[in-house]
Symmetry: C2
Subunit: 415 residues, 2 copies
């Protein structure tokens, strides 16, 4: 048994309590309960505190009660009625999920931190946690996407890991949160591959401050230099092997495959949104299922090429072609995701996608459009636009430089 | 130039004139016209002759003409109005497609034979052609599927090639014929990998008769023994390289990728129908897009495993995970194909799929159900049912041994 001789258990904190964060808390709480030798029973969930009125349509609404129609603290509500009425209504949470509005307190003594925050909140929340997490804590980042700029590409997991000076893996897959919350069957991919770490005591001083954390330029990452600063898990804890990490996430309705390719898993979740736009364009033209499948296939191969070009040492082809975070997430996103639907609508109505964003999303930007621009700016800086004809075509369609009808000629392989 | 010094051109015959065969004739005829140094201008299309009355809704229907409402020969109609009004209405064929009701005459002098026949007609049509084809002719099989029995697996291309003692490759992809006939963008995969051949004259006597052609048992194929009997293309012809074969099929709206994995391409077109049934089952349960994508992903990996197990030397993983004949065809089939739709309907109505076949398809069998039974019978004979949990689950659902709701637990990886 992996846990023989272990004296401590792992304490788990979910940092985030939106739709996806609450879903994660639910399934992780179910698993810690089933694995009492590995994990402490209580799962902390950090809640960005807000005042919430129980909606009239909620099963928890009681017109006669003294709190009816009165704002209550979200964390208090979650801890009393065991439901996140605002972000995951109608799903009962296990009582061992404990909402905590204090982010620093929520990670106290935790050895496993699961980050499920909106992209833009990651830096500021992590900054609050610098020096407050256990030195040997491990993190898993469940936020999809990467930061792409002209200077380079930064994975969310790296942004977290470097700020907190801990190892951070990534979870991504064909994962529509509401379906998983309802325990409908799905799969996911977890990339977890900690480097060798320093096992000496005491823990090293001087965690980096956020100002020291720079963008990672391709081929500039030096994991060995970093890993020397990471602190090994003391032997009193059960090891955080693939097997034990999987036990924290795998459910009968949520099948987990463990891999070691953090960059691939992270890139998949970002680049699929560009593909979903392309699929929406050809579907909007009424070109049928052959064309949609073709664009998806070409897109998956551009994902592979992108990973190999910019993360040569770490990315595996199979992460994109065989795992949930690759091919399956592309399929789900191109069947009915928001990027797909808005792109299709733009073509059908003869409007730009920016007009659709204004009208249908109250001006909110689609992830696909911003990723398409970021990736194009990066490819331009590398002189590699031509090596990614589909990603480049999507950018040029958004810019009005080419028409969606030109996709086949633009992506036609030269032989 | 590949054609330097060549004195002969390749003559092309399409054997078959249904929906897909007529579409193939159209696109091949467009290409021979554009490559006059490689190919003769006329494309022969063998037509199974029948009497056809031009339908009233056809643009060729002329109430005042003396042929109105009178049966005419299908081949005559195609050669005069340049449309297959019965099997591909409203699509104009290039005038260099020549319909020929005599199958033996249609292949005379042809060096390229494109087989596009319904599965069940292949043996009897090929039997008529034994000894009648050019000894150095090459074939491409566009019929999807494989013959699977307890004794082994026979690829359609092998059934053709062994009967006629010629080399036969395979074409398969996310290819709904009507969309391609309308020149909507799609892709395909062509597997073409002729072995070294005998270049001595005269041509070897004694082609095998059909009774000599046995099922190929896995790991029993001896291509070297066979290839010694195959006749090399005389040097007066342009070589039938990947480049030249691609020129015969690739169109601006029909992108071709050439590979060498005939077994993989053929298996993809057969096994995807089992996956489409599984996708229909989970969609019928209302499980959403995560579940559907998961089943597709697991299915693609079982395709890979099947190919590796039974065609170890020839099958490549990437054929399934990266080519149109693999991942893209699975996507198309699981978005709206017949197998998917009938499986979904069965679950929604609480009926068996056999009742759906009776009611919706006039008792016609779905390809997916027969393939699921054939593959299961073969896997049982090899003692390998457990290695293919999704294929086995589909069979057991069809048999009523398990419920569709059990799919997640049945395919759950043991770790």
């Amino acid at each position: 048994m992996a846990t023989l001789g272990a004296q401590h258990k792992h304490k788990v904190t979910v940092v985030g309590s939106g739709n996806w964060g609450t879903t994660m808390s639910k399934l992780v709480a179910e698993n810690v309960k089933e694995n009492p030798t590995l994990f402490e029973e209580t799962v902390q969930m950090w809640v960005y505190e807000e005042d919430v009125v129980i909606p009239k349509e909620s099963r928890h609404y009681d017109a006669g009660s003294e709190t009816a129609n009165k704002p209550q603290k979200l964390s208090h509500l979650i801890n009393t009625i065991h439901e996140n009425v605002k972000y995951l209504p109608n799903i009962t949470l296990p009582p061992n999920v404990v909402a905590n509005p204090d982010v620093v307190d929520s990670v106290k003594d935790s050895t496993i931190l699961i980050f499920v925050l909106p992209h833009q909140f990651i830096p500021r929340v992590c900054d609050q946690l610098i020096g407050k997490t256990m030195p040997w804590a491990r993190a898993i980042c469940c936020t999809k996407g990467v930061d792409v700029g002209e200077k380079g590409i930064r994975l969310m997991s790296e942004a977290i890991g470097m700020r907190l000076n801990i190892y951070c893996g990534a979870l991504s897959g064909a994962n529509i949160a509401s379906e998983i919350a309802q325990e409908k069957y799905s799969e996911t991919t977890i990339a977890y591959d900690p480097p060798p770490m320093d096992s000496r005591n005491p823990t090293p001083k001087g965690s980096p401050t956020s100002s020291q954390v720079d963008l990672i330029s391709p081929s500039k990452t030096v994991p060995s230099a970093r890993s020397a600063r990471l602190k090994a898990l003391p032997s009193e804890y059960p090891p955080l092997s693939h097997e034990n990490v999987r036990k924290l996430f795998h459910r009968p309705y949520f099948h987990v495959r463990m891999v070691s390719d953090v960059a691939g898993v992270s890139l998949g979740g970002a680049l699929k949104n560009i593909i979903a736009l392309a699929a929406g364009f050809v579907d909007g033209l009424g070109w049928g299922d052959n064309a949609k499948a073709a664009v998806m296939r070409v897109g998956i191969l551009e994902m592979v090429r992108f990973g190999k070009a910019f993360f040569a040492d770490s990315v595996k082809t199979s992460t994109f072609t065989e795992e949930s975070c690759g091919v399956a997430d592309v399929v789900t996103s191109c069947m009915g995701g928001r990027n797909f639907r808005c792109a299709k609508m733009a073509i059908e109505r003869g409007e730009t996608i920016f007009e659709i964003e204004q009208k249908e999303l109250n001006g909110q930007k689609l992830q696909g459009t911003s990723t398409a621009y970021e990736v194009n700016s990066f490819l331009k800086s590398q002189g590699m636009e031509k090596d990614f004809p589909l990603f480049t075509a999507v950018y040029n369609i958004l810019e009005g430089n080419v028409k969606p009808e030109q996709i086949p000629e633009l992506i036609e392989p030269k032989q």
